[in-house]
């Protein structure tokens, strides 16, 4: 099938002042702006996508993933002893995380159509490599900021599946007590700073978390504070002002942040090529003074290598990195999207590059795992997701008393009532029926 690992994955353009060795850039022929739909099987001039998937699979050889700080290795033409990128334990961990993301999202779709959750639900199928590739390298104190497509980011960061599922069902046991919903997943314990419904509005929040990390180190003199923050957002957001403003500020103050663009080519029904004057998003990094890296987002190992370097760069205090992951969502924009606009051949092309299948193949080819071990993981995750649904289903709905809680951290903010007492002292307040 698809040999996603046989091609050089990263292309790197550095601003001249940084001392990474510049890689030879491939000849990026211009896309035809008139073409509204991408046809990966036609027109090989479209270098935006790695379209070498039709070539014969390599002989289980090592990937030629290039870390940001290294020179590009030329692809090896003859297989030698494999230079493995992951250990067995890491492989299993990555596999489990991606399977969790996939099964969970599939279950969400089922539950949605059964009327257990409502509203806008955006599923992450197909993009698991990005979430797993980045978040599995983070510590608990590192922050993650996402968009409305945040279920899998929450799961990767460590939020229990039952808490996320309860939140989707709108139960009081959800991670946000049922008050946030699909698009607002938050977890203080796991430092998931949300979950934002408007695109772009999470990026400044991530920048703020990175600012706190730098503040702690430099003002509060906590020398061991090297928390990194990672902001995930899509190709549509890369045209938004907040994105550019934050790139500027992060590079200016060398904030420990990684900007991860999950370029799945579509912003609901707007093709990235129709919306963007310069579709290569990674090129926008050097314009602001940070490295811009481009990586195949359907390949978790390549993503992981790039992520490792970007995160370490931030941890060392060298500043931000912009990583563009080319990926694809197998489902529509949301469960309400009929997804009629995208070309079926494009969809089937990416279906062959499923990141989970690719990782599986890599691990088998390198004799890292056995079929049974993977099956065991799949079974375990199946049960976990089933259990999460049961837990969510049996959890209570929020009572009326919860209505007025959490509006203010200090509920005196509701003010003083005509009787001279604070509104929050009114017994009706705790019942949720007070008039504020």
């Amino acid at each position: 099938m698809a040999s996603t690992f046989s091609t050089p994955a990263t292309k790197l353009i550095q601003p001249p002042s940084l001392n990474f060795s510049p890689t030879p850039t491939t000849n990026r022929t211009s896309r035809s702006p008139i073409k509204s739909l991408f046809h990966p099987l036609k027109n090989h001039n479209h270098k935006l996508r790695l379209n070498k998937c039709n070539s014969a699979p390599s002989h289980g050889q090592s990937t030629t993933v290039v870390a940001v700080s290294d020179t590009v290795k030329k692809p090896k033409s003859t297989p030698t002893l494999p230079n493995l990128l992951i250990t067995k334990e890491e492989g299993l961990e990555l596999y489990e995380d991606m399977i969790l993301g996939r099964y969970f999202e599939d279950m969400c779709a089922q539950m949605y159509y059964r009327g257990k959750m409502f509203g806008f639900v955006h599923l992450y199928n197909g993009q698991e490599a990005v979430s797993t590739g980045f978040i599995k390298l983070l510590k608990q104190q590192d922050s993650v900021v996402s968009t409305y497509r945040d279920h899998v980011h929450a799961l990767s960061k460590g939020v229990p599946a039952r808490a996320v599922m309860s939140e989707l069902f709108g139960r009081t046991t959800g991670c946000c007590r049922g008050q946030g919903g699909s698009m607002h997943m938050f977890s203080k314990e796991h430092n998931l700073l949300g979950g934002f419904a408007f695109i772009g509005e999470g990026i400044p929040v991530a920048t703020g978390a990175a600012f706190t990390s730098k503040y702690r180190r430099e003002v509060l003199k906590e020398d061991d504070c090297d928390h990194v923050s990672v902001a995930f957002f899509g190709d549509g957001t890369a045209n938004n002002g907040q994105f550019f403003e934050c790139l500027n500020m992060a590079a200016l103050w060398k904030l420990p942040i990684v900007f991860v663009v999950e370029n799945n080519l579509w912003a609901i029904g707007m093709s990235h090529l129709r919306a963007t004057s310069v579709p290569e998003i990674w090129k926008k990094g050097p314009a602001f003074g940070m490295p811009g890296v481009h990586v195949d987002g359907m390949d978790v190992l390549k993503v992981r290598e790039v992520a490792k370097e970007a995160i370490n760069r931030a941890r060392r205090g060298e500043g931000p990195t912009l990583v563009e992951c080319e990926t694809y969502r197998f489902r529509g924009h949301s469960l309400a999207d009929p997804d009629e606009l995208r070309d079926p051949s494009e969809k089937s092309h990416y279906a062959t590059r499923d990141p989970i299948t690719a990782l599986k193949k890599y691990m088998f080819d390198n004799n890292l795992v056995s079929e049974a071990e993977l099956k065991a993981i799949e079974k375990k995750i199946d049960e976990l997701v089933e259990e999460a649904v049961e837990f969510a289903d049996s959890s209570p709905h929020p009572p009326r008393t919860q209505l007025l809680e959490n509006v203010f951290a200090d509920p005196r903010g509701f003010g003083i009532g005509p009787d001279g007492k604070y509104r929050c002292e009114d017994p009706k307040f705790t019942e949720g029926t007070a008039h504020v």
Binding site: C176, L193, A197, E245, N248, M249, F408, I416
Partner: protein, 409 residues
């Protein structure tokens, strides 16, 4: 002269001062005054009696009646008799800010030109030299993003103060203020607090033009999850600044461009005011005048004229624009039965409109007359000085309004 009235049930589109039906005038001027003179003996909140008929033309003394002294004793008259020190309003703001920054190392300032330049109105002068460039952060011109950045920093443990160089610029930050600042505590189920203070000068200045003369309090008041306060004197500026910084809620502190150079003597000892309370500026008997920010001074000017004419208005600076202090306001309404709201906000959908609704809802039975609300005209503030003057409420309009209000049954 064009006066803007928002009398409930009265005719709209008023263009002249002679609005009220003469049949409704029950009292003549002289008779009512003599009846009233005998009954005026108000008790001030510090326990001193005074006779309402004496002209009270002096400027308002800083009454400590609503102060929350940090030393846990609610001293009222004692603070007023201590020497204290004199300073200007912007210095008072800076003093409050500096005290909080010294007290808590997580307090930081984020804004345009707050650091090296010292703030466009000098509120942060000297702080960057003292605390460094990261604690008093000069930002690029990206309001939406640096406000969002402040929110992210607040979520992760800092206590930032965002300065809008002019409140009007915060329109660009509306996305972050509405969606994130106001809502994240709720949508995260209470997990994250946003102890951010957003402050800056607003209001109509001296021919600053339409865009620099905006009053954003009306735009922000519907956002759930935030508190709005407006300072008007050096005393309450410092107290509110400190209270806002210490509050766990996001607070928007409205300052006024023309009030930065007000001078007042404030106490030496530390004090923090209450964010939700209103301030009794001048107790009275005849009418309750509710105001905030710069209009407080127009009201006090008008009060001088009114007292000379024999009226005894009670003036309350509501200070807390959201939520309203309905206790102080309610007690006043129950005493005077007539309400006049004087504000600089726009007529449509402004703070006065909300206040009118709130008072009507809660204290309808106590009102002897419809609530009158004087607001600025619903026009973009003109540049020409004469036009600008007619946009905002002026003291003679206030005097006329009180006179007419007191003549109503």
């Amino acid at each position: 002269m064009a006066v803007v009235f928002q009398a409930i049930g009265a005719a709209t589109a008023l263009s002249s001062a002679n609005v009220f039906d003469s049949k409704r005038i029950q009292f003549s001027y002289g008779r009512s005054l003599s009846e009233r003179k005998a009954s005026i003996c108000a008790v001030r909140s510090d326990g001193m009696l005074y006779s309402g008929s004496s002209p009270r033309g002096r400027k308002p003394e800083p009454l400590i009646s609503n102060a929350v002294a940090t030393k846990a004793e609610g001293s009222t008259a004692s603070a007023a008799s201590k020497p204290g020190h004199e300073l200007l309003l912007y210095e008072a703001l800076r003093e409050g800010l500096e005290e909080e920054m010294a007290r808590d190392p997580t307090v930081c300032v984020i804004g345009e030109d707050v650091g090296h330049y010292g703030g466009s109105y000098k509120v942060t002068r000297g702080l960057a030299e003292k605390y460094g460039d990261l604690r008093v952060l000069d930002t690029p011109i990206a309001e939406n993003s640096f406000t969002g950045m402040a929110i992210g920093a607040a979520m992760t443990g800092l206590r930032p103060i965002v300065e809008g160089m002019n409140m009007g610029f915060l329109l660009l930050a509306f996305n972050q203020i509405s969606n994130n600042c106001g809502m994240l505590h709720y949508t995260s189920g209470g997990q994250f607090t946003i102890p951010v203070v957003i402050r800056g000068p607003g209001g109509v200045g001296r021919q600053l033009g339409a865009e620099h003369s905006q009053r954003l309090e009306s735009y922000f008041q519907s956002i759930p999850g935030i508190q709005l306060v407006a300072c008007s004197t050096p005393y309450n500026a410092k107290g509110l600044m400190k209270a806002a910084i210490r509050s766990e809620n996001p607070v928007i502190l409205f300052e006024h461009v023309l009030l930065y150079n007000l001078k007042e003597r404030i106490p030496d000892e530390e004090y923090v005011l209450n964010l939700e309370e209103a301030e009794m500026v001048r107790p009275g008997e005849h009418v309750t005048i509710l105001t905030y920010s710069r209009m407080r001074y127009h009201v006090m000017q008008a009060t001088k004229m009114l007292v000379n004419k024999g009226y005894d208005p009670e003036v309350i600076d509501i200070r807390s624009l959201k939520p309203f202090d309905l206790y102080t306001i309610g007690n006043s309404v129950k005493k005077t039965h007539r309400v006049l709201i004087v504000e600089e906000c726009m007529r449509t959908g402004g703070i006065g409109a909300s206040l009118t609704a709130a008072i009507n809802e809660n204290f309808h039975d106590y009102l002897d007359a419809p609530i009158v609300c004087l607001s600025s005209q619903d026009v973009p503030t003109p540049y020409a000085g004469t036009l600008e003057e007619w946009t905002v409420v002026q003291p003679p309009q206030i005097v006329t309004a009180v006179e007419q209000l007191c003549q109503l049954q």
